[in-house]
Symmetry: C2
């Protein structure tokens, strides 16, 4: 890891004898402090300008990150905090959703998801084939545009107070289905590229479907489970710790299966949402979310290298792919959710646009399989990040109109509030 | 970093294409999950046996750590989470203390601190001189036994509900003074060892004293500051985020000066405790503490290598040093806090006994200065950890008696509760 900061030359004379950690530890904590501060200052500036706060967090991270001021080089710990941050974010989203509400949006969510995977793959692959790439490479360019990462969308929906609207449910449901579909396709393409398509891929498909279906069934059966399910241990007078372990455990399980970790966290949220501890855990997860989640956006922002766009060929490829990526998801939403109203359907499409860390992982995988050249890698990576950064801006334009035409499907929380422990 | 876990061989066949991070990231998160789980299971077992929960957390970490089962090798991120955990812990302690209450215990705290630094240095150095070590080495052995780390004591005091007792205030006050004294002495000895005792050491002394005094003055002036001081930004509807930044900022500042980071966090807690946001922040820091703090104890436990005690010479040296370390602190407490009652004075002494991470850092510094040989390093390190592990056990014996004889100095929290945002 590169050094972060040397603020005080005297430190090297008398090497922090009593500091509760080594100088490296201190440097890392300083880096985290600066990332959090930058994210929060960025959010504040953007909110004062009446723009989405998430963009401010992204730009805060970009500014202090390696591609701009170079004050902070997010390393292992920042990455892990960012990962736990987005896991907590999706857990909190799941916490606000009842499985009943997901079932109600089943049909539009499935159609949006299927089209939202098919269209970007077709468009991305077509573009790559036209640019003269071989079919396997073209397939991977398409795949990189297929998987939705709803971390950023969730935050925008939550901040605008529309998580209980029908279009929000469709986005969340479609994103889960979308992730399962994309996982299966990536497994198949990877298997074909490695000449090994068989038991492993089949296991992947069964595992991914099994996990989501089983999680859903467990959530249905968890309805009305008493608060004591989370408070029986002596060590805790609040249900948070067990819920946190459940969240992290399911996130890890999902990742082992090959799904995005955030899918596991979302399923954990769905399960807890049906129990009587929902209100209390929703209240207690907020302080954790307020500290962890900004790292996700700041670290994502810090990965954006705008200098790469100085190469005109690369810039054109990235912009075309980003435009295709957004347009195809919007089209999928407009068709899939057409029954919900014009602006709502548009909101669904735009909400599915960000590829985020899922797209980044697919791109990285494509390079490791030898399917993407370095220049194509940069173009697709920039395109993936552009879809992520553009989405909150587009959402802030579309959501107010969608909210005006849409009816809420139900109250955000259910049952009487349980007094805090 | 060594690999953490390979649970599923299929993962290497299909390389987690959609996981929201690389395989390394996943392994680290699995390690963190196991550490947290082990700490909580350990705490639960110990609580059911009516023993202090912290010991269970330490032993949970020890069991899954590199010196026992070898499932988890705490790396960068676990270390940082553990560090932030103890910072949050001391911030929470500061949050429950008013500066008025610290002033009331000024005299016994100062006497306990001064004696609690002088006695261990004298005893440790005498032992090392008798064992034939040169004076500079002997001085460092003494110093390693001097500095108190009250992370563990704070947790035990909080768990037993006696943080508002007079003896608890004395422990906390004495630990702060003790840390400043030990810092100054370590600066002087390091300077002498490097043949450079002058401006840097003087700067250290002035900086350390200035930080603690200034923090105290700021806390006095913060009295009655309105909640809006922490809620003016648009990004937050709770005062937590700004308070967290203040905490982390002062912890970093303290570490740059050369003080323990936890002293800075404690001062931040003192400041916030005087404001009107105290109640709300105390409420919101708890979920963060419940997730972060167990890492501190689990990581500390994971460092304990009981196999080192198989060498009889080392075992004797470690046990003698640990016994000297505890006895001298107890003596300091019994003399310094003698006006508070017999058991209370004993509780003060025992509460000052853990050296924790502060002692470990001093030992590491001694090696880097060439003053401690590897075998002496191991002996002192084991002694430092033994004082840390023994303290909660001793406290659980002494505190009930001290609580029975002591009068609380005042209510734990002040003023009307502010309704949560």
């Amino acid at each position: 890891m590169p050094p972060l900061l040397v603020l005080d030359p005297a430190r090297t004379l008398v090497p922090s004898p009593q500091a509760t950690g080594s100088a490296a530890t201190l440097d890392i904590i300083v880096g985290l402090f600066i990332l959090l501060l930058a994210a929060k200052v960025g959010e504040e500036v953007f909110r004062r300008l009446r723009q989405p706060g998430v963009i401010g967090e992204l730009i805060g991270g970009l500014l202090v990150g390696p591609h701009a001021l170079g004050i902070v080089f997010p390393g292992e710990t920042a990455t892990i905090l960012s990962e736990i941050g987005v896991v907590i974010l999706l857990f909190a989203v799941g916490l606000e959703i009842k499985t009943d509400e997901l079932l109600q949006v089943g049909r539009p969510a499935v159609v949006t998801a299927v089209l939202g995977v098919a269209f970007p793959i077709a468009a991305g692959a077509a573009y790559a084939l036209v640019a003269g790439e071989p079919p396997a490479t073209a397939a991977f360019v398409g795949l990189a545009l297929a998987a939705t990462s709803i971390g950023i969308t969730s935050r925008v929906l939550a901040q605008m107070g529309v998580l209980d609207r029908r279009f929000s449910r469709i986005i969340v449901g479609a994103a889960v289905i979308d992730d399962v579909l994309a996982l299966i396709l990536i497994g198949i393409v990877s298997g074909l590229a490695e000449g090994d398509l068989g038991v492993a891929t089949l296991g992947l498909v069964v595992g991914a479907l099994g996990f989501v279906v089983l999680g859903f069934v467990v959530a249905r059966r968890a309805r009305g489970l008493r608060r004591e399910v989370f408070t029986w241990p002596l060590f805790t007078d609040t249900p948070l710790v067990l819920a946190f372990l459940l969240m992290l455990g399911l996130a890890i399980l999902a990742a082992y299966i090959g799904l995005a970790a955030i899918i596991g966290a979302f399923v954990a949220g769905l399960i807890v949402a049906e129990t009587e501890a929902q209100d209390e855990i929703e209240h207690e997860i907020k302080p954790l979310a307020s500290i962890f989640t900004p790292f996700f956006f700041a670290v994502t922002g810090a990965q954006l290298d705008l200098a790469a766009l100085a190469d005109p060929k690369l810039a054109v490829a990235a912009l075309v792919l980003a435009a295709l990526g957004i347009a195809t998801k919007v089209l999928a939403g407009v068709i899939g959710a057409r029954g919900t109203g014009r602006w709502s359907a548009l909101a669904v499409g735009v909400g599915m646009a960000p590829r985020g860390e899922v797209g980044i992982v697919v791109v990285t995988l494509g390079v490791s399989l030898g399917l993407l050249t370095p220049s194509l890698f940069s173009a697709v990576l920039v395109a993936v990040i552009l879809t992520t950064v553009a989405a909150p801006l587009l959402l802030s334009l579309v959501i107010p109109r969608a909210a005006a035409e849409a009816e809420p499907t139900g109250p955000g929380s259910t049952g009487p509030a349980i007094p805090a422990g």
